[in-house]
Symmetry: C2
Subunit: 537 residues, 2 copies
Amino acid sequence: GSTPIVMQRNPMFSTINADDITKFKEILGEKNVVQDEEALLAANTDWMRKYKGSSNLLLQPRTTEEVYIFLSCEIVAACFTIFCIRISFPHLDRLFDKVSQVLKYCNSRCLAVVPQGGNTGLVGGSVPVFDEVIINMGSMKNIISFDKVRRRLYMVSGILVCEAGCILENLVSFLDNQGAVWKPNFWILDLTMPPFRFVMPLDLGAKGSCQIGGNVSTNAGGLRFVRYGSLHGNVLGLEAVLANGTVLDMLGTLRKDNTGYDLKHLFIGSEGSLGIISKVSILTPPKLSSVNLAFLACKDYVSCQNLLLEAKRKLGNILSAFEFLDSHSMDLVLNHSEGVRNPLPPSMHNFYVLIETTGSDQSYDKEKLEAFLLRSMEVGLISDGVLAQDINQAFSFWRIREGVPEALMKAGAVYKYDLSLPIEKMYDLVEEMRMRLGPAAKVVGYGHLGDGNLHLNISLPEYDDTVLGQVEPFVYEWTSKHRGSISAEHGLGLMKANKIHYSKSTESVHLMVSIKKLLDPNGILNPYKVLPSSLTS
Amino acid sequence: GSTPIVMQRNPMFSTINADDITKFKEILGEKNVVQDEEALLAANTDWMRKYKGSSNLLLQPRTTEEVYIFLSCEIVAACFTIFCIRISFPHLDRLFDKVSQVLKYCNSRCLAVVPQGGNTGLVGGSVPVFDEVIINMGSMKNIISFDKVRRRLYMVSGILVCEAGCILENLVSFLDNQGAVWKPNFWILDLTMPPFRFVMPLDLGAKGSCQIGGNVSTNAGGLRFVRYGSLHGNVLGLEAVLANGTVLDMLGTLRKDNTGYDLKHLFIGSEGSLGIISKVSILTPPKLSSVNLAFLACKDYVSCQNLLLEAKRKLGNILSAFEFLDSHSMDLVLNHSEGVRNPLPPSMHNFYVLIETTGSDQSYDKEKLEAFLLRSMEVGLISDGVLAQDINQAFSFWRIREGVPEALMKAGAVYKYDLSLPIEKMYDLVEEMRMRLGPAAKVVGYGHLGDGNLHLNISLPEYDDTVLGQVEPFVYEWTSKHRGSISAEHGLGLMKANKIHYSKSTESVHLMVSIKKLLDPNGILNPYKVLPSSLTS
Ligand SMILES: Cc1cc2nc3c(=O)[nH]c(=O)nc-3n(C[C@H](O)[C@H](O)[C@H](O)COP(=O)(O)OP(=O)(O)OC[C@H]3O[C@@H](n4cnc5c(N)ncnc54)[C@H](O)[C@@H]3O)c2cc1C
Ligand SMILES: Cc1cc2nc3c(=O)[nH]c(=O)nc-3n(C[C@H](O)[C@H](O)[C@H](O)COP(=O)(O)OP(=O)(O)OC[C@H]3O[C@@H](n4cnc5c(N)ncnc54)[C@H](O)[C@@H]3O)c2cc1C
């Protein structure tokens, strides 16, 4: 048990019956209609094991074999084939669209559903609250096209089109391999140049499980936001299925397209409450060869801030990550994550900062970073620091930062807050919270300092409503007072659906509700989430 | 006369009467209710002098003196004051909000309106079709805040908040001046460093007249898109006034905010048909000191393409513009723009390319560009070229590229098409069109090659329906067949409202129409534009 959420199942929704199961099996095939208890338990429980639903049905729509059967053999040939098929029969996909058929049926029966990706969300958005049908997208994991090779010319547009269920890490590897197999044997210029590879414009600790559809649905930020910016800028197109089964083809692959309202943005960050995202088209930036990573110690928060300021000025366009963690976070990772060592022994410092640079010129970039670090050391902004000497060391530094959420989980119960705040105020909140709660709780602060995004976490042996009462609404009021956001990147989900007014005006919330009603009149898509239940039901 | 648009005035709309005028004078003050013929003629006519309305009324809402009176004295002090006022009386603005009062009244009377910015739009969106009331935003030109200096710490967030009527070029100068007056007298690091300045993340030929509100409403692309990307990524917040006068405060200044649907994106690119944008919050990137510009000649289009490919690979993150024009465009500029000289005499080349780099290290960047140009020359991608030696020469190169639209205007009648196309196909269309039209018309191609954005223009002594019949729908069908966009950056306006289906699916268009009806049930905002009239009236 955790946050006490007193909530009523919406009686408008039907409950699953035998006919429904028959119908779903008809649409999806026997094995994709899951009623097995173990699988259901996993799908009902969120990553933190904090939110738990009681759904009896897990559906796993799969790409229609009729259309994508070719994919297993030869990806390029298949893409071409699919392309031809799509050109000749643009509606063929739709006829076979399983997600569309499932939603259409659920809508007609008024069965509530939860769209689910990798189930790594941190606000209780990806699991049922009651008995909603779980639609997991993990089986829709085909790469549809990667626009690099076009006929006789090698293009460098780097546009990837894939199904929503692709796991982020798999896309990263795919892009890396694309480069590796690229033999520019009829290219007129430098045949000696290294292959041109691409990367995903987002990266996060959950990359091994989270899906691109989940990332887009939560408008995930992550570790490279400071460099590549928001998914609103990187996603070029989407296919989304509305509650009534309508397939909305917004799957453009163009850099620029100003024909009417740009509807895809409604779905980016809507957490499965407006439609199920089934395909994504995304601009992938070139992978640059020179990456450097420094792990640094600062004596106080003001130094972290000033370091950021200087990093932005002096590293400018090679800066690709600026993350921080306080000693309390470091302590947790050292105690709870296996095989992690303190890179700056023997003592503990108050703050740690990771600075990554990415560029195209190894010696120049390294020199630039080294000069910057030296100067920052001289003026006392940095107390100690180390530059990763190889990829393994870089990996071990990243493990520390990426390991904080997992270490917090292992340490016991945790209340998580994901806030945008003016950078100069940010750590005041952590300190105030620490004062407020006293020794009863461990208060840790870490996150994406470069974007003004603090992860404030309160770690306890077990969930405790008295402590929670001291944390909330204080943390939301404090954030609102400083004109911050109560959810920088994780979304509202179930946890903060009723808290939206701390960050959004009444008029805005009302318009959101109207849009929800327009797109999903029966409210079957991810009910009880995102918007205040008082306004939606 | 030009494109014959057979259109009926929507009889639902009222016509202006004496009471309306009285009411508007009451709200805006006598001098902001303009009925003067000359002013009306200008406001009724678009930049190309191709679209002409017959409105009898021009309204110029002004920032409420009650709130912003301080601004004239001391900007920083005033910002602080306003900030305090806003904190204490958050609804004060709204009480005085002229745009809100005007729209509320128009909506109640069912008077149609056209929001107007700098009136530089190229698709007939900014002028009335019949007698719609023109609401020009040019008097709302205050800068509200620039988040660089915060108390004792210099922040580098670079977030600019301003009213919608600010002219783009004025914002550029403002940002440049901010840097200049910055004296870091209590900053602990290098006091010797040059000041940290900022730039607008967009730039376009019309910068001297267009307004930021117009830019956002058209989702303008422009010359630096290849570097800074779309306004969907750069705009952090908006204030928009809906048809019924509701002020929608989405004026966030945070890099990250995932609380509910990101409504501002609906207004970005909606061309005044969903609401009037009254304030804009935008992320301005740091102004980097090292800018280089090359003016190059290529023998054929394939060379331009390959040059782009190589520029992306080798110049990577310092590439800030990649523009092209064909010999026909060059010819027009040389003949019609004053004081322009051919930078690569004596002969004419088939294609010209401008490559701009922007970085932080003058000698390194220049070396990189020079090496790139040398190599491209060696392998024959470039036939000739010159590097701007100073800012004046750079300015003169830009004048050529930016001068094409103006030169086309002076040359006579012009049919303009703004297309996104796969880069390798792009120029085929220009050549096909040339073949199709024969010597009767001059067909020119230029534009933002780096983003796959072609400006195809057909220049004639005067408008000619026979020629038009040969151009349309051919150009739209060709674009649609190649999965391009019939409007990359200019929007649909009046010109292409009925052509939207060439680029968008039926389902998407229907959803757009539903959203239009939700936000503007009487359809008073910029009627006959953006969406097909068959669906909206
Ligand atoms: C260790 C760890 C580190 C993390 N780091 C970050 C970080 O740095 N930055 C960050 O932003 N987040 C982070 N997260 C949160 C989470 O990983 C991201 O929000 C991620 O994008 C969720 O993807 P998912 O596929 O797991 O989605 P899920 O958790 O399955 O779902 C999340 C939400 O999206 C909806 N959804 C999922 N797929 C679809 C779809 N195809 N169509 C419509 N709706 C869908 C769900 O209904 C739910 O509301 C982290 C999580 C963990 C566990
Ligand atoms: C020489 C020249 C070069 C150009 N170059 C480019 C270029 O490189 N890239 C590009 O994208 N465009 C370009 N344009 C087109 C045009 O300048 C841009 O579209 C510009 O953004 C329009 O701004 P504006 O203030 O003039 O808007 P207007 O022309 O006044 O209006 C354009 C549209 O926006 C609406 N609108 C204006 N202000 C508001 C507001 N505050 N609230 C709601 N709706 C509003 C109007 O109703 C209209 O539909 C160019 C135009 C010219 C003349």
